[in-house]
Symmetry: D2
Subunit: 366 residues, 4 copies
């Protein structure tokens, strides 16, 4: 029960360490009949690939995915889809001295306490490379959601103190610049800010937003498996995320009901809402509006300044971390947020299919 | 799979609607040998009971718990503990006109979309009364944690714009006043604020904080079942919560690594941290510091001002909600946050017991 | 994780001991919109009620069920259905001396080893009364299956050495006589045999068969959740069952492929099978033929002959068990087998709804 | 939820088709600190390898396992162990005509009904090659059980009508001959029988027994997760198994309580049983005696005689199956039964660690 499986019906199991021979995921419960090829998955992986901008580690990894099972004649078979990415750039020697001490802000100490020892090469299982499996599975979930007309789109909302201006919103911009910000002006400022961080041997945090469009009303379960509870878990399970919001998020705590309630109204013959403070979820169930969530990432803990810590002999020491580290995790994490959201939304849609007797009768009658 | 079960080893299943004959929970997986009586549970339930202050609904419910199974001669038997609370004050007539329309900010519309109809009496399953089962189960989890020396303490951090001053912190104060704030001065201000809200026929939001002390390092799983991911789900699954933070939460996004990293240091011969920005969790696993989380609650959606909405015939209408409603959910939700945190922490401790071969060998050798 | 929950989508959690105040079940994941009243459930419970024949314990229990939640205006709401049966005839004094020793064939010793102590009143959680929850949940599952045209029928196949003659098969007979055998002649012989057992202060075993009709082909999952694997678990989880068969069962081990293979053939324009050695399941998935399973029950371990055992002081002793015990469990277990089968079949049908992309697209398009 | 994951704490997820590029398993929840190398796993895989006797398919597969993750410096890390075996002998052309019709006794038809199409190459996911993942995971479980002094041993009990003589029992014999029978005389007879089957272009069924020694009393959960229920599911999930027994199995149905009850007695200062009709499990929980189970396998459905079936156009046809097929599955299935038993026993041991408060307190105090 080391918790490497996520999802109830569309179920993913990730495996692999930063410096093992490969990393991967098994996707169980993907319905049969979805067209799927490696290129569908590769384009998602390419969005998180290192070395693609000046703000990501210069470690070179092609991160090429192989489909080992579950696809036959170009379609999913309904049985497990096994995806594998070989690790090709494991310079373990960079990490040799890490074995003796605990890096601040990292999981070194907690892994040691839990397991009695750890794979100290590049963080082992706590490495960001673990997210490769999530992104690969998310590519499949996104493709399936697209068949239902549902889109999931994540982007960088803020880097350090720089936030996007919603009036400038342009998702094409986010997909082509180095920050993932859908606002060219904010992105330019963020680049300057990140360069300053690098010069100061420091790192930056940031915010990723994600929007789900065209999700029908009625998706999610009313008690523990609320859609926002499941999204909360999905997002908080991404390394470095320290806060999660749905809709207006923390702002709701200081407002009043008269301002926060979204009035229902008839729009083009359909029930809609005049506002969307709720972020598309009421009582844990989708209300037909856009689902809007935000993930808050801490700054990369690996910084090149001298830091204080302790070693395994219980001595206070000073360290200088070496190696290849991103000055910010947000830019590469955008696609991870998108992937985890897509997986969660799809899983909720599948779970919802058994919520009504009439739906079941129609299904088996046809 | 309507998601009424929570937990992996210490597993709770809640049931019941606001206006059914009773409400309850089955706790499966509670270890044998814990002393347990109804009073242990009742004192937790009394903390969420309505009618106990001027800021909670005047609906009178004794909320008396009965233990129906799983306890023999004053100790838990290891088999399911069934707990039941009778509903005694169901004035369904108050809700008769709700059946025809969708209240803004409520789950009326989403339940209808999901299930094809709903129990419109007092919110049915989406009622705050569902949390009775959580609190009852949380009382058991807290008692068991206490046997291991671990404490879980929640309190009101903010009501509307009024926040506590950490320098005034006094948990006894929180347990005796009407706001749950551990700061008499802030509490007094909050009372004034809430009275204003009531006068304006409006409602207020707020923040609940929760601190876990004495949790050993090494608890939590490294990937999807990160301790903070599971806490995130636990807290986000409470109705009206719209944001979740661990440690410094959203602030981490705008700071730098050099400021956010907590240095390790030797303190009294043990490994500790100089600061606790991380909120006691690194890489999803407890680091031995206090675990600190925050839940952001929206204002009660039931307000007595006129509101706009639509009815089931698809007509725009104006409504005036009647009935008995809290002007704020936070004061009664404090114990719910504490309960969900205790359940999650206990479950993680139980899961962790199989993480090392040597621990297993010791267990079965003795 | 004491394992009191069964099912993936249609999920039941049973609770309660033989001599607690009540016993019950929570059914989570029942679709909304099923007509349901207490009488639907009561008629299943009446089939397992004690005291209804000379071959069952004379303990008098009305076993009246109450629906506490999940049904509104005569229909299931999609949220948990909590069912409760009060224990009314707990003569705990009958069991006082059992506390000091371990009854042969019972779970006394194993509970003590597992939990460190046990509820010794009437077997506590290991009592046959635990099956009340299963039967109540099975009544709901059966009713829902009937909406899809699927029937589940169990009956007594054998009592001790007396087997039914398939040529005499008459299910009405099984529902009206005291043995549950669908064969009046065999039933009469079995009654004589059981009376002999009672006279000898002994007990008898037997076999229960169960047939599922009109299950569509394609239900079940191909690897670990094979339909027959899940049925095997469901049936083996009933106390006193020591063997499970599907189709020809153990006979297949001594036959040849040429005799055991069921040829496919066209019948009335549809694909069918000429024979059904497989019992309706191929590769873990239903093939459209009747699903046929058998459960083998051991004789009631509580017999009134003197027996040898040990007490808690580690002394060899001789005992004479008192109390009220059935000379055979099979007659009352028929409805338990039917219930567990119905629950498993329904759960598999619900799981199957997400197996194909086209089915999902149709579902969400309509 | 296509059911490719098995286990609660020690959790395995298998993937791969007969004719894909590889087949494998992810083992999640294996405790940290177990010495593990590829050879530990390979020796289990070699026991199921084809081509090792005249009674197995002559398809040549080296079935060499690679450990891709979860082991560092020779020890398990507590994180997922990914194991991969490349398929090297995929002569898909042998299967080209199978695509158009449904082989009797195979899962061809049921897969088509479930998924809308199937991977027809060698059975795809329903191929016996799926068990490679089970056996690889079972090797790890067995190694871990050995650390606790627990052994799991399976062997061929019967082939067609030929049964072993318990008085001749010699497990070394079973490991060296071609039948897996621990009885040289029976094995010789079985070889003659199998040659006759081959000559008649027919196939044979058989029985596999499995014994677990040194399992402590108290393992297993009392209701749905009874140890025998979980073993029943584990064994029934192996392709071609049609019946499962624990202890005396089906015989219990025709005996009496006085003969079937196992008396407890003091033996060398410990509680033991005079007999073991129960097969080591009472009330779903281990009683300290040997756990004894049996699996009944049907004859290989692929026989070389002409058979009747239907094709996808709905026409009655006659077929002659070609390709490479074992005349009996039992000899290669012995290690699969052993693996599934080991995984189930280990998982139950891990689950049991949280059954008592005192055990938990001892664990966290040390």
């Amino acid at each position: 029960m080391s918790g490497s499986t996520y999802g109830n019906i569309f179920k993913i199991t990730t495996w692999g360490e930063s410096h093992g021979s490969a990393i991967g995921v098994v996707v169980d419960g993907c319905p049969a009949g979805l067209s799927l090829c490696e290129e569908d998955i590769q384009k998602f992986l390419d969005r998180r690939k290192p070395g693609s901008s000046q703000f990501t580690t210069q470690r070179k990894e092609s991160d090429s995915v192989e489909i080992l099972s579950g696809v036959f004649e170009g379609k999913t078979t309904g049985t497990p889809i096994s995806l594998l990415v070989k690790n090709t750039s494991q310079r373990s020697s960079d990490y040799s001295d890490i074995a003796s001490y605990y890096r601040p802000g990292h999981a070194d100490y907690t892994f040691d306490m839990k397991y009695g020892f750890r794979d100290y090469r590049g963080g082992g299982r706590s490495s960001g490379r673990e997210t490769i499996g999530r992104v690969a599975a998310g590519a499949i979930a996104s493709k399936l959601l697209a068949e239902l007309g549902i889109t999931v789109t994540a982007y960088t909302e803020a880097i350090g103190p720089i936030r996007i201006n919603p009036e400038h919103f342009n998702i094409e911009e986010a997909r082509s610049n180095q920050t993932g910000m859908p606002d060219a002006e904010a992105s330019a400022k963020a680049e300057v800010y990140l360069k300053e961080c690098i010069e100061k041997l420091d790192s930056a945090g940031g915010v990723v937003s994600c929007i789900v469009k065209n999700l029908p009303a009625g998706i999610g379960e009313p008690v523990f498996d609320k859609l926002d509870a499941n999204l909360g878990k999905a997002i908080m399970s991404i390394g470095a995320v320290k806060a999660f919001e749905v809709g207006d998020g923390i702002k709701v705590a200081s407002t009043n009901g008269s301002l926060n309630n979204d009035s229902f109204c008839m729009t083009q013959g359909k029930i809609a809402k005049k506002t969307n403070h709720a972020g598309g979820i009421l009582g844990g169930i989708s209300d037909g509006s856009d689902v809007i969530i935000k993930a808050y990432f801490k700054p990369t803990p690996s910084i090149f300044q001298e830091q204080e810590t302790v070693n395994k002999n219980g001595e206070d020491i000073k360290i200088n971390i070496k190696g290849r580290h991103d000055p910010i995790v947000v830019t590469r994490a955008v696609v991870v947020v998108e992937a985890m959201t897509a997986i969660t939304i799809l899983d909720s849609l599948l779970q919802n299919m058994t919520s009504r007797l009439d739906g079941i009768k129609n299904f088996y009658r046809s």
